[in-house]
């Protein structure tokens, strides 16, 4: 049975690098309804930036393509972010998730998945070569009393 979110937003944008800032800012703005701390907001922004940048850089290396971002809120103050592309896909997801692994050369660090994993509570990567990649991240925002 699929659990329905209490709220969600869905965005679709072209894989232009100028959209990286837009996507992470939109996700962070949506997350503010969970009353996160500045630190939590920073973590969410960073993880979204990594996932969206991967779709822009790796999924469509020499073309422009479609990227979608869905942010949802579930019971228990859980934020879920899904970034999807219809690009080249990843042949070996386990290998791609290893720290320092990159096919991007000098301009990349190979730390994107490592950061998504450590900044969020859960990271699921599903990919099919030639079909695309779906990155799902979850983060529970603590409910603290007396917080502004």
């Amino acid at each position: 049975m699929k659990v329905k979110p209490n709220n969600y937003i869905a965005l679709e944008f072209l894989s232009r690098s100028v959209n990286e800032g837009f996507a992470r800012t939109a996700a962070a703005a949506f997350a503010t309804q969970l009353d996160p701390t500045l630190d939590e907001l920073g973590d969410i922004k960073t993880a979204v930036s990594e996932a969206v940048t991967n779709a822009i850089v790796h999924a469509y290396p020499d073309a422009l393509g479609k990227i979608s971002l869905r942010a949802s809120v579930f019971d228990g103050n859980v934020l879920e972010i899904v970034v999807r592309d219809w690009g080249c896909g990843i042949a070996d997801v386990d290998k791609a998730r290893e720290p320092l692994y990159t096919t991007g050369g000098e301009e990349r660090s190979g730390m994107g998945f490592t950061i998504m994993e450590s900044f969020m509570d859960a990271l699921i990567v599903r990919s099919k070569p030639g079909k695309g990649t779906v990155v799902t991240m979850k983060r529970r925002i603590a409910q603290r009393s007396g917080r502004k």
């Binding site: 920073g42 960073t46 950061i115």
Partner: protein, 102 residues
């Protein structure tokens, strides 16, 4: 991304202002390398005080500066690194390799 440079004695200070992501990385690297090539400094200080956001693209920029300074036999230091960027550097283990001061 705004990049400002200043050379005093053998120290080149490069200050960043804005968001250091993949979109900004290429122009940042170009400006940084141009400044290093012109000054050939013994010390390179990267001032992160004005960086309002950084993701792993910033790690690649810093590692590039690190390798360049190693090749010159010089030293790299980061100063005024905000908490958000510091967390990204920590996750990548950069903090152990590059000194970070205030």
């Amino acid at each position: 991304m705004e990049v400002q440079t200043k050379t005093i004695d053998c120290t080149l200070t490069v200050s960043f202002r804005g968001e250091l992501d993949h979109h900004a990385a290429r122009e940042t690297v170009t400006a940084l390398e141009r400044a290093v090539d012109a000054a050939l400094p013994m010390h390179l200080t990267l001032d992160f005080g004005g960086v309002t956001f950084m993701d792993s693209s910033g790690i690649a920029v810093v590692m590039r500066a690190f390798r360049r300074m190693s090749a010159l036999g010089g030293r790299l230091e980061l100063i005024n690194v905000p908490a958000q960027a510091k967390k990204v550097f920590d996750a990548a283990g950069i903090t152990a390799r590059v000194p970070m001061g205030t």
